[in-house]
């Protein structure tokens, strides 16, 4: 690879190699202040589909230690998105030291709030918003559950703001924390947001989970209890490595489900969601 960028995000060390400088420069700007690891755990590669494609209408292929055979090439303007997707993929397929839940996490008073749900449910936006409002942002994509003690380890990578969520932050955070606006990507419009400084400074400080929420955007406000068995099933579906971990995954997940309260939260807009989160936290976790 002609160019390389290294970054430590929580317990995971990444090396991103690229045929082009631009995506790595964009990442270096947003990951400014993150540690630079000497020995990477995971490697991501952005490479040209054909040699001459590096110069003529470049299209970026994503590769790495773990690959999806049918990943489609992206345009160079979306190269940084490719690197972020590659980093997620390495974690999802290669991480064996933690139970990985597709969930966002924030922390307050040493306790973690987990939010999980389908793509588009708003867990990522909510975690980023709470991170600007007095909570410590721990991650918008993966919650890493410790296999021995059940603590949540932070994975505060860049937040990938999508579509309507972008405007929620454009006016309220420092412009240096926002990456380039990437239009019409396979996931719609995307703009990356650098997590707040305290999220980066405390990326090695785990927190014990205290509340699990299943937010759902676009519905009338409602809060429902969910049975533990259903929570367990939903979390096996939200985990990328539950099956691979075997019995230790079973033990870790059943401990999580039986030790913290869970609620489903429907919300019509983000302000309503923040209100519900604060209320439930005060009632069930504080």
């Amino acid at each position: 690879m002609r160019h390389e960028f290294r970054v430590q995000v929580g317990p995971a060390a990444f090396r991103i190699g690229s045929d082009w400088r631009q995506p790595l420069d964009q990442m270096a700007a947003l990951y400014n202040g993150y540690p630079t690891p000497e020995i990477p755990d995971f490697t991501v590669r952005l490479f040209a589909r054909r040699f001459w494609r590096r110069f003529l209408r470049p299209s970026v292929m994503i590769g790495g230690d773990y690959m999806l055979p049918d990943a489609a090439p992206l345009s160079l303007a979306h190269g940084m998105l490719g690197a972020e997707m590659g980093m997620n993929l390495q974690m999802a397929l290669g991480q064996r030291r933690y139970l990985l839940l597709h969930a966002s996490a924030v922390e307050r008073d040493g306790k973690a709030l987990l939010m999980t749900g389908e793509s588009g449910a708003g867990k990522s936006t909510l975690s980023a918003l709470l991170g600007e409002r007095g909570w410590r942002f721990m991650g918008d994509e993966f919650a890493l559950v410790d296999l021995e003690n059940g603590a949540i380890h932070p994975f505060p990578r860049l937040v990938s703001l999508k579509n309507e969520a972008i405007s929620l932050f454009e006016d309220s955070v420092d412009a240096s924390r926002l990456g380039p606006l990437m239009r019409d990507t396979p996931k719609g419009d995307i703009r990356h947001l650098r997590p707040p400084d305290d999220a980066v400074e405390k990326m090695h400080e785990p927190a014990h989970p205290a509340l699990l929420l299943f937010p759902r955007f676009g519905h009338a406000p409602d809060i429902r209890e969910i049975g533990q068995a259903e929570v367990f099933v939903r979390l096996t579906q939200a985990s990328t490595n539950y099956v691979m971990l075997g019995e230790v995954g079973f033990d870790t997940l059943s401990r999580l489900v039986t030790t913290i309260p869970s609620r489903a939260v429907d919300y019509p807009d983000t302000e309503s969601a923040v209100d519900s989160v604060e209320r439930l936290w005060a009632e069930l976790a504080a």
Partner: protein, 93 residues
């Protein structure tokens, strides 16, 4: 009721957690997680005494549990055994 003999793995081959009245079972030999409702955990426990025909199994269950005046127990047990067999938690030796 069939004349088949059924067998289950010994209790140490399973990790079981009860949640909301259902049982989560991690089956060590297969690495699979099952979610089963009563009386499936009780059937597995009763098979822990040894291989059994449905008749014998019903006797063991009636000894330990009060089924009241239900009259279709044999058919219900056959159905539950068939489900457990499909899941790979019991089999015919």
């Amino acid at each position: 009721m069939s004349d088949a003999i059924f067998r289950a793995d010994p209790p140490e081959a399973r990790r079981m957690v009860m949640l909301d009245g259902v049982a989560l079972i991690f089956h060590r030999p297969s690495g699979l997680t099952h979610i089963v409702a009563p009386p499936a955990p009780q059937i597995l426990e009763a098979l822990g005494e040894g291989d059994a025909s449905p008749d014998t199994l019903l006797e063991r269950l009636q000894r330990d549990y009060d089924f009241g005046a239900a009259d279709d127990l044999a058919a219900a047990l056959d159905a539950r055994l068939a489900e457990l067999e499909t899941a790979g938690l019991v089999w015919r030796p």
